[in-house]
């Protein structure tokens, strides 16, 4: 104890002495010399003459142009500005319990008011009773896609126009595709809007989602059955999973030339590949930010319901090697009903499809990484209340 105190005391004493007397050991009488640079001054006229003699800059040379800003966001409408004049005494919308003597019917001028109503007579016009009112009734439903008139039994009672019977050669009706479980939240997207002119192997199937090489349900990746949050009915989930497996198998077949080396096992592991393929490297922050810049401006929730704007959806996006969207599937949602989530999902899906229409800007060498991605669209920053 005493030894420690002694060492501590000596140390502090040394510090105090250094502070008091240290300057004597480092003090120098002459300050260091400051370097001085000679600067010559010229007049304004001399400067102008010098500039005039200098070679001119090539104005046609390319100059960096600012990038266009993202799609402007419509801000909430400002409150109407009215002059700050004294407001009248607040008057209740309903008559007060002790109202002033109200004008009696005799005090009211009997003639019609100067404001001309649509009908010239001041007499009241009866509202048409409900049975006489034009009551549009939802008649037969129409097929969701244009089809041959003869293929539309739902509107068979409607007189078919002549042009419908003889469509022009360039407007052949498209046969209606089999509905692939429309209640599901899985959408197989045609990679391009011009299927007739695109190479067949790059396209999603347009005729049937059930190819011959359909895998057995047991080979379906287990995560497919985890989308039950959007399909509460467990029996429906099985059906949906089977349909999803068929669709994914069809998509896999359609993209076989590009992903032939990818086995189901590799798909399950995501970034993993087969033995002769390197494991995909993770996307770096710059690549992720670039993806946000490409898709984000198209994510428009301005036309969503107030409830849908409270929903956060997570979707799995599968991308082909040429960076086309193969499928968009909602995997989960929070903050609203299934109906609201479907609306929010549709808005997000539109953003993905529109943003990807000109490419996603992803590094080709990391295809194993980004061939399947999870996108979460969180509306908390822009939701309506």
């Amino acid at each position: 104890m005493n030894k420690g105190l002694l060492i501590s005391g000596l140390g502090h004493l040394g510090l105090v002495l250094w502070a008091l007397l240290g300057g004597w050991f480092t003090w120098t009488s002459d300050p260091p010399a400051i370097p001085v640079a000679q600067v010559s001054l010229i007049s304004t006229s001399e400067f102008d003459a010098m500039m005039a003699a200098a070679p001119k800059v090539d104005e046609t040379a390319p100059t960096p142009t600012p990038q266009p800003a993202a799609t402007p966001v419509v801000k909430p409408q400002p409150k109407p500005a009215t002059p700050a004049k004294p407001a009248p005494t607040p008057t209740p919308a309903e008559p007060l319990p002790t109202p002033d003597p109200a004008p009696t019917p005799d005090q009211t001028p009997p003639e019609a008011p100067p404001v001309a109503p649509p009908s010239d007579t001041p007499q009241p016009i009866p509202v048409q009773p409900s049975d006489q009112a034009p009551a549009p009734d939802t008649a037969a439903r129409i097929a969701s896609t244009p089809v041959e008139a003869t293929d539309q039994p739902n509107i068979a009672d409607v007189a078919t126009p002549a042009q419908s019977d003889t469509p022009s050669p360039d407007s052949q009706p498209v046969p209606e595709e089999p509905a692939a479980s429309p209640e599901k939240t899985v959408t197989a997207v045609t990679p391009d809007a011009k299927p007739a002119t695109q190479a067949a192997p790059q396209l999603a199937p347009t005729s049937s989602p059930r190819p011959p090489a359909r895998p057995k349900p047991s080979e379906t990746p287990p995560e497919d059955t985890q989308t039950a949050e959007a399909t509460p009915d467990p029996t429906a989930t099985d059906t949906a999973a089977a349909d999803q497996a068929a669709i994914e198998a069809a998509l896999a077949d359609a993209t076989a030339p590009d992903t032939a080396a990818t086995t189901p096992e590799a798909s399950q592991t995501g970034s993993g590949g087969t033995g002769d393929q390197p494991i995909g490297a993770a996307l770096n922050s710059g690549e992720i930010d670039n993806l946000r810049q490409i898709i984000g401006p198209f994510w428009n929730i301005g036309s969503l319901s107030t409830e849908a704007t409270r929903v956060t959806v997570t979707m799995r996006v599968q991308v082909s090697q040429d960076q086309k969207i193969l499928s968009v599937e909602m995997v989960e949602f929070t903050g609203g009903t299934a109906e609201a989530a479907q609306q929010a999902f549709e808005a997000a899906r539109r953003a993905v499809i529109r943003g990807a229409s000109k490419g996603l800007g992803l590094p080709p060498d990391k295809y194993d990484t980004w061939k399947s991605m999870l996108f979460t669209f969180d509306t908390s920053q822009g939701r309506l209340r």
Partner: protein, 444 residues
Amino acid sequence: MTLSQSLTRLLALGALCLGLTAAPLAAQTEPHITFSDPVIEPMPYAVPDFVAENGGASQAARDIARVVADDLTGTGLFREIPAAAYISGISSFDAPVAYADWQAINAQVLITGAVQASGGSLSVKFRLFDVASGQPLGEGLQFNGPESGWRRMAHKVADAAYSRITGEGPYFDSRVVFVSESGPKDARQKRLAVMDYDGANVQYLTDSASIVLAPRFSPNGDRILFTSYATGFPRIYVMNTADLSTRVLDEQPGSMTFAPRFAPDGRTVVFSLERDGNSDLYTLDIDSGALTQLTNSPSIETAPSFSPDGSQIVFESDRSGAQQIYVMPASGGEPTRVSSGKGRYGTPVWSPRGDLIAFTKMADGRFYIGVIRSDSTEERLLTASFLDEGPTWAPNGRVLMFTRESEGASGSATLFSVDVSGRNLHQVTTPGPASDPAWSPLLP
């Protein structure tokens, strides 16, 4: 601690470490990217003139497409792409859609339709397409009706499109009863009128022989309650909209009745009754005539409105010394104060969705239309002006209509509409000054 316990803890610790190590590896298998900055702007859409499937339908085909476009654009949620920008048209209702042409002009939604006229009736059918994904958005629908009902059919088409895209309930095919005003401010004449929600098809229900106030539709739209000074004192009347027959709702000698509103069941009316200088809330069973007093307070209670499920009533009262909003059980009982901000609150109306209560607020010499949750949270002011008052909800609970009066001797009342988000404030066109709007339910 035994050896087995030690081993168990060691294994658990090892498993935890392994899990913590493996979790990030598993997360790397699929990139997970979060988007958190949505754009809020109107959705661009295209609605070409509907196809006239016979000669008599040409005008209707154009007019219906225009009304559909006006409905959608009027919500502020959509932006119509002008026809001049179209690359391709719709020559036939059954022709396949050239999605690429509509994508090229940035249309996100396309509405196509066809109209057929025969024997004084119209048949209108339409389809909705999601241009971005190149898919139809739901099934096509067809409406049949008389030629005179072409606007209603157009509203039906717009309602279907609006609901499919936004997820909101429809409201275009609805009507609004209001007080049509005329004459100078000091001798204003008022009469009841009804119009489409967009101001079209105005029809007058009463003459200007007596002052009328505060009309209210019944839940199914077959009757209208209103207050009239026909006897010199305010009395509640009920009008049958089919034949305009009118009768006094209930005769209470020596009293004044006003501020009526139907219960959701359509059989009960809640209103204010003033007797001996004091006003309280009462309900009246229309069938039996049974009168029930809900409040008994020396203060002024008025402007009652039922919750959509009929279990509660929101009303205004000055029992605290200033005009505030309260909620109480529909059968009466201790009220709970809802409004708590600075200023005075009045004319509360419960949203059809049940989540919000719209009100008029008076503070700092200005009037506001606002909404607040029934649990007294999230009060928001949507409008502000010299005089805004008397909000009414659209059938889907997304839009409010109210009266805005300009100041000065020449000032007049007009009807305005605003989205519940506070956006899309715009005037509703009426033939003349108008006030006290009340939205009908969605028409059948």
